[in-house]
Point group: C3
Chain length 343, copies 3
């Protein structure tokens, strides 16, 4: 199958130039494309690949149209148009509604007739699965869980803790939603578990990466707003609140009760301590340690530079002497200013 | 259902004040509570919420009793008493003993008649599951595994490596216990796997978070003592030993053969290298890099401060010059002291 | 069962000294060994244990032979020889070929008659499982997946994204291979998913740790070359390329499109940003932040030292003043040199 250049342009609402009947069946980078592929020029650094590309169609800006000799789709944002084109060319496989005979579904679960429950799922009581949702093989939905329309859960997703997912959420394999938060009181040196009784609410269009974990709230809910995208192996603790359209890259951890604003972009391997507030529109670079609230939009960082191990060892020792170094500079300044005056 | 104030007080061994027959069915924060809820005042910062709370009962200290106009439970440690009250109000669902018909149980496994094996579990040979244990849906207990009385395993927990769990352990979804340690010899540039033949021993009352991994030992066992609590996505390497009642927050990694003492509190995203010894009672703040042993109790840290990216970039460069800066300060000091003497 | 000293020596191609008929059935450290165990002396620090060991046989170098009074295997690299001996003494359990009746296997999957599909696996269409492969309980192989000869997948391994595994790969429990990469375009503040259509290629002898995640490529493939060993909870993003025999320790994350060379050794909790190139033979210490490419072999590091929290707080503040401190040193130098000339 595939789509012609004219069909794609029409569906995407773009102008095009070239052979309207040219059939496109896949996508590839300029360098790797072969006949039948759509590619895109989103950055000037790839201009050199344009001349030699075998792509049947390239998505370009109006300005770049001139440097392109073949078929083009013209877009304001070629990367975005490429994304939408790829969605058309690679539609998700959607199963007809039904329940695989090997799945174990509680009689008190409500599965929409158009939803698909794949092999070896376990669906507990009071689980609601809405229209067209696709529950992948091996998923376990504990009890009192709501899955919105058109959600897709891949393999072995585990959902507990009275979680509810909005519409069109995509949950990658091995993710855990609604695990207990890490809440304990201490009784003379022994930990006493505090039952975690809050829920988890995911809005619409939330994406959760593979093996990512999201805890249920301690008392009130953990909340992930519409359009939040979470990469793999992220840990979201109890009662975290993440504002809409925020993106978080892999391996980042967010401790309990921290409130992250809307449209933030948080890098990988970032650690955010608990009970903080991060403003809307904050960007945080990879591996940053966020130990304080951030009250205005902007780009924030922490971390130390890569060095040869030998050189790092020398500087590493000095980091412990920084306060002393600062005091010595101050002393020197006093002495030198005095000397300057004396001379 | 629920409990009256008098029943709760009696079960918790507390004094109370107010309507003995007041029925409590849930818990909530002071701000969110509605009629029927128990709440608590554990920190002065929430005193302002007391006046307006709709909670039917509040747990307070004797001293705070005076500022509370409604029903109270009086406790030395309100947070601890709240934890125990919540355990009474939210008892864990305990299934009657039995094996779900979809579970696959080896004939050579020994399952106590009072234990529950949920749907689609796989229980291998020589697995022993003791009284009242609750094995959640999709769990896989490989072979030669022991699960103590009253343990609870949530969904898709995977146990290998001759692991044994003590009593009352709670293992969240997706955790892996007994995976192979990362042990290899090198043969002229090629890795040669060293069979991992040690086991894993978890004591009583150990809690393991979602998607946390605990490796089996290389030769002797990996040991997690009584009452240790591990948050989500923690990695415990082979032959680590963690002393009783130690708490570790999410995303922390502990490399092989490190020995962590009793009653330590280790923050999230901490990295602890291998073959270290951490004393009893050590606290380590989030995202710390522990590259050396710690021989006495205390609070330890490492890491760099959050800054605007622009400012961080300037300081980042200087971190590579620290040793040079220290030498220049020393040179300056010599010169200035000489000048001071000369003048 | 077990092997005699003579049998072991013959199979390993080593010389031995002592009782040729001595039966060895296990391995243990010098300190823990009992009769029937093989142990090894790989480091001078364990020489003290030699005198008291109960091991039936010790692997030693020719030079150390003299300090050993019992049976010995003589090896150039005792640790390597110990690894190979342990492989002989603890052969992996290999099931006869077949499919467990509880597994759900698509008719369009091709399972070699000698491969074993364990309980409750789900094998989708166009999955090819080659000779002698062992697919553990609960594994889910989505569709269009290739598993090479002699691969071993432990429990609940999830494979998507047109992944192919070479021969003799070992995948620990809970690992996810072929999850979607974290690729999105942005449309006026809203994330638009970019379909991830590349695959994942694992070479021969690749080992993947528990709960590790490896994303499929966005357009072209994510590539893990022969002999790469990955520890637990590692995140490999889309289009990463890892060269042969590279080892990566637990909790490390590698962002998209980064190319890591051959025979690198990367510590735990390392964060490597995207689109970098790391040369062959690079070693990186634990918890390092790799924000730039590394163009030659060597040992690299970053990170800050562990301190008491009180002391760290003082130095922590100073890290924000580094650039200012450097400028003040420069100013002082100018003033002092001027003063020195003036005096």
């Amino acid at each position: 199958m595939g789509l012609t250049l004219a069909q794609l342009a029409s569906r995407l609402g773009c102008e095009f130039d070239g052979d309207a009947a040219c059939l496109i069946s896949g996508v590839a980078s300029l360098a790797d494309a072969t006949a039948g592929d759509l590619s895109f020029l989103a950055s000037p650094q790839y201009r050199a690949d344009l001349a030699s590309t075998q792509a049947s169609v390239v998505v370009v800006t109006k300005q770049d149209r001139i440097i392109c000799s073949g078929n083009v789709l013209i877009a304001i944002d070629p990367y975005l148009t490429y994304a939408r084109a790829a969605q058309l060319l690679y539609p998700e496989v959607v199963h007809d509604g039904g329940i695989h005979p090997s799945a174990v579904v509680d009689p008190a679960a409500q599965i929409d007739a158009s939803a698909w429950i794949d092999a070896l799922c376990v669906i507990g009581p009071d689980v609601v699965v809405a229209a067209n949702a696709q529950i992948g093989a091996g998923c376990i939905l504990d009890r009192d869980i709501t899955i919105g329309r058109d959600c897709r859960l891949l393999a072995n997703v585990m959902i507990h803790g009275r979680a509810s997912l909005g519409e069109r959420c995509l949950i990658q394999a091995g993710a855990v939603i609604g695990s207990d938060g890490f809440g304990y009181a201490n009784d003379q040196g022994k930990w006493v578990k505090i039952p975690q009784v809050g829920g988890v609410k995911l809005g619409d269009d939330v994406e959760v990466g593979a093996n990512t974990t999201i805890d249920r709230g301690a008392l009130s809910d953990t909340i992930i707003e519409n359009g939040v995208i979470l990469d793999n192996q992220i840990q979201i603790a109890h009662n975290v609140h993440i504002g809409e359209q925020t993106a978080i890259a892999g391996c980042t951890g967010v401790a309990g009760s921290t409130h992250i604003g809307k449209r933030c972009a948080i890098g990988g391997h970032v650690g955010i301590v608990g009970h903080l507030t991060i403003a809307d529109g904050v960007q945080i670079s990879a591996k940053t340690f966020v130990s304080q609230s951030i009250d205005s939009a902007g780009f924030y960082s922490s971390g130390t530079p890569l060095e040869s191990n030998a050189r790092w060892r020398r500087n590493f020792v000095r980091m412990k002497q920084l306060d002393e170094m600062a005091r010595r500079i101050k002393t020197l300044e006093k002495m030198v200013y005095k000397l300057s005056n004396d001379v």
